[in-house]
Symmetry: D2
Subunit: 351 residues, 4 copies
């Protein structure tokens, strides 16, 4: 069943495999009249791209091309087609994986579902698919910027290390998108240890949105938080999502968790900017739990396509963690959810 589209009014459809000729996205429903150039998108793609020290050495340039929907530098209201051609494709690295199921990956589930799979670098299930999401998110960002909405994602935990302080300016200064410089330094040391050990790690990404008006979200199934949860959980390595106080709220008392209302607004934001599925006007705050990358060089038990036991040690170009590359992806998903809701009119009739 078709599952590669997201959004109702600001609607995207992504396509492409890790080692196919190209990948891309069609954005349908973007309003006309928004200035848009490839550089607007390229900037965001650079933030998730491999080639940095932390991430895999695949030197993919990730040049985006705009194939439709923009005329004389401005969106026209028709579908915007973005494409990124895959240039550094070395499928040869993967031929030995054609007949083995990597633990923690979708190799076996894809084969069970489709009866066939593209085993080159994970095919459609590769993290590379998220480049298309980031490209679409960049377009959503342009639209939202014009409405005063700003979205920022950052790392709040990595390999069990947590941030202790929050400095917004620090986020783009370190390779972890971490708002705490001290924590970032510790994370860097942790990466080296894990690389030496042939192992990998996960972490927690937080996304916050400023400037959203009250009133976004549609009861009862398309609540703002429901859509955010679905959006973030659709990102490959994400295994948990929470809004505001999240899982901590489960252990709080009502008198602790309720955000008091004052004539100046809410006195706290345990709600994470969402009440009854509708935005309150406070910052929207969501967090995503990211599992460790399953590709490790440490030996693992698995089976091959004939069902025989195999000991597998995955070589090749792999990251130690989906963080930091997943950070701009989480940001993109929140941008896309908000763009979708922001497109809807305030439907109140004048009386």
């Amino acid at each position: 069943m078709a599952g590669s589209s997201f959004g109702r009014l600001f609607r995207i459809t992504t396509w492409g495999e890790s080692h196919g000729p190209a990948l891309g996205v069609v954005i349908d429903g973007c309003p006309p009249g928004i200035p848009l150039a490839p550089e607007d998108i390229q900037r965001d793609l650079e933030r998730r791209r491999p080639g940095k020290r932390l991430t895999s050495p695949r030197g993919e340039p990730d040049r985006v091309e705009i194939l439709s929907g923009v005329f004389q530098g401005v969106t026209t209201g028709t579908p915007i087609s973005l494409v990124i051609f895959n240039r550094d494709v070395r499928s040869g690295d993967y031929t030995e994986l054609a007949e083995v199921y990597r633990p923690g990956h979708g190799d076996r589930t894809y084969e069970q579902k489709y009866g066939v799979r593209d085993w080159r670098g994970g095919g459609r299930s590769s993290g590379r698919e998220t480049a298309a999401r980031v490209a679409a998110g960049a377009v959503a960002r342009k639209f939202l910027a014009g409405r005063g909405v700003e979205v920022k994602a950052y790392t709040v935990a990595f390999a069990g290390l947590h941030v202790d302080s929050f400095n917004r300016d620090e986020i783009d200064r370190n390779p972890f998108f971490c708002p705490d410089a001290t924590a970032a330094a510790a994370m860097e040391r942790r990466v080296e240890e894990l690389r030496d050990a042939g192992d990998s790690c996960g972490g927690v990404v937080e996304v916050s949105a400023r400037g959203c008006p009250a009133g976004l979200g549609e009861p009862v199934f398309d609540k703002l938080d429901a859509r955010l949860a679905g959006a973030l959980m659709s990102v490959g390595a994400v295994k948990g999502v929470e809004i505001g106080a999240g899982f901590a709220a489960a252990a709080m008392l009502g008198s602790e968790n309720n955000d008091p209302l004052t004539p100046d607004g809410y006195a706290s934001n345990n709600a994470g900017g969402v009440l009854a599925g509708i935005s309150t006007g406070m910052d929207i705050v969501a967090r995503a739990a990211v599992k460790p990358i399953p590709s490790i060089s440490k030996p693992q038990q698995t089976v091959n396509t004939r069902g025989e036991p195999v000991t597998l040690s995955i070589k090749g170009r792999h990251d130690v963690s989906a963080i930091p590359r997943i950070v701009p992806v989480c940001e993109a998903m929140v941008l896309l959810v908000l763009a979708d809701f922001m497109l809807h009119p305030a439907p109140v009739e004048k009386r």
Copy 2:
């Protein structure tokens, strides 16, 4: 924007307010030929209904009526309309709340979004809306039972108390749907303390599904886990969702979190039955963090509709926790997600 429908093939649309004449659901896409009687639905409604000691004393009978889609005791493939008339409606209890915004509720966000709100018992944002979900879930259960799929929800944490053991048979023996009798007894004591204190609490609900075939879920946005996350987060009091190891996975190493594959299947289930968004054939395991019920008699700071500060102490019939009533609701949402995916054919062409 329309937001009261859920699902693509097994599609439900709910309607109704807490203190309106009735509430209900239309189930469109349920296969024909399934025996269905009101009692099949009534049984599940009883599990979430008020009137038990733990929950609010509203003595609503919640009698479901089947108005369409069933002929001679069997579904016909046409829409099934279920309705529950509200009989014990005392809106008078709420008139004093018509001009005040209750903290932690949707009173203010609804008014900001719609410019008008039904203040009787929360109107559409009331937990009562979930009766329609449970009714629809009961129909999904009938369909899934014929395919060998079984879904069960239970409480794993309540007011900071956690279960230590798991006994499936115990779940329906205590009012908390708790699989640990000792923990259930402690929870019961906690309820009394909170009621005396005029406060409320939350908890964590786990849902597990047995018997699902591998192959459910549609990459990349309609992944099984993405749909589960959106479904559970759409339930009123839920602020977090996790699959399998969930947030714990964020602090694990790849070598710990990966589920090894053996000739006999997966050796563990940190994935919670989902890899790359597609079911593995293992039990599907999801958890939802439930916030404390915001209606408490303990005094709170808030404002009225004129923006003036008010100290509010909420009287009337209110539960101490959304647990246990939310347990069958979480179960229903997972049933509905699975019914939707189970309706889709295995689309593989013979070669």
Copy 3:
């Protein structure tokens, strides 16, 4: 597959069978703040209801009840549930049809699709289903009236008789909704002849909408005319749809068919108010071809459920033509299409 919903923003879901307990519709996405009373809906239902001389003698009162979405006389933005209980249900009339397939009806296709069918009066495939559409259309009409849009349907051909003149005031003065009094009188004589002959007839319904702004319709698949065509063709007896000059345009020259543009607007309206799928601001004009009612007392050849040949003469309460009852139904479908598009914001960004 679920197929009983229509519209994207102003979204309706209908349910109910001819001889079940009730039928109804859920309207999701209707803006808040619109005054709405049962009489607003009842008025439209009266226009399609049986009991008039022309139509079948089933004396169904068709009383609509509003079960949700309206508070203190005004829509709240939440789903509006409308129900009409079936009171004059004499299924006994149909028991002899349980084992025979009526020509021109859906008896056999429903059974082939679903493996089961509700044979009482056509079940879900009965024209009675359209009462729910008319009820929903009445709500759309209230919304559109506030935006200055007015929709009117009328009969332009009946049993081969065509209207020669157009008098808008005449439409509601004769039982055919015919804008030509002379033609209406001829139609009345034709009905008597056909009733005597035990036969039935069809005709053509035209729907025109005044006051629509330019800009409605979404290229390339959700064009305004594409949605109108799908909407009208979804009405049971409709076998053809055309916009503006329609089929006549197929035999015209470009120089004849093009509507010249002048500083005062379009000089003609062969386009029927739609160019490139987008409304022009001129009247929107659509026509639907209605086939003769298949239930006739004249003997017909058919087969029973065992495949044996049967000569069938259908007795009971049946209309001679779907006209006039189908006229308000076509009107409702156009109302629903326009409400859906009118809900969408003009998305142009200010530059």
Copy 4:
């Protein structure tokens, strides 16, 4: 609002403007395991391509590239991205049209809707957009061929000339896709007259589908005929759609129009293969009325973007009629509708 997607299970999204860098389509939901090569698609594209004598002299090669969804020559179940780069783009031809609204085109409605338009060759509203539909239809054809379904479109009327005979083999032998060789010859003469006169013409296209099983179509809004009507009316120049006897049925008696049922099946096919919105198993027959191409060199009255009157004579490369190029497009739309319904399982539960 997003409007460039079509279908629910076999879902396509098209993009691209007449004179942009490229146009294309993403096909999401195509089953895995279907052999697919560029030539399978190229063959259908050739049938609609310009360059033949009848059509405009734009020598576009229309080479399709498959960018995703196919691995080792076989579909994988993931989205199939097809792209056609525009090579023969002479926008200069259109600069004089940047400030004038061509009658019968979408120039003015696009500008009214979006506030901006791509005036190069009609931009998104150009007939060139349909190349993407034909490419997607070719993939649907591959899928349907495996299920025994065959779809064929042909011209039954052109400039007021009608076919008198039907010879299936003749269809691909003449440039009109006309099943009557004598009529085709007359059409050819008519084209020359119109070209000399600087005028254009329309016609009627019929599409028939063989081999469809009974049971396709979803009551009550997604009826097979409703979807066909919406699909065909979404094609640029189409102004009318009919199924089976269509508009002629409006003047028939019930006793004439009903298709008698015999032990060997239906004795006639006035229904066009659809009863109550569900396929009967007979050939599905639909017709589309095609308006004359609005671009004519004969002088026309119009206005420019400043609202001033202009006499316009359109030069450049234009067809005399949308026929024959629209014939493969109508065929593609029916292929896409049928593929969508054929993907759905027969949902009957065994009892």
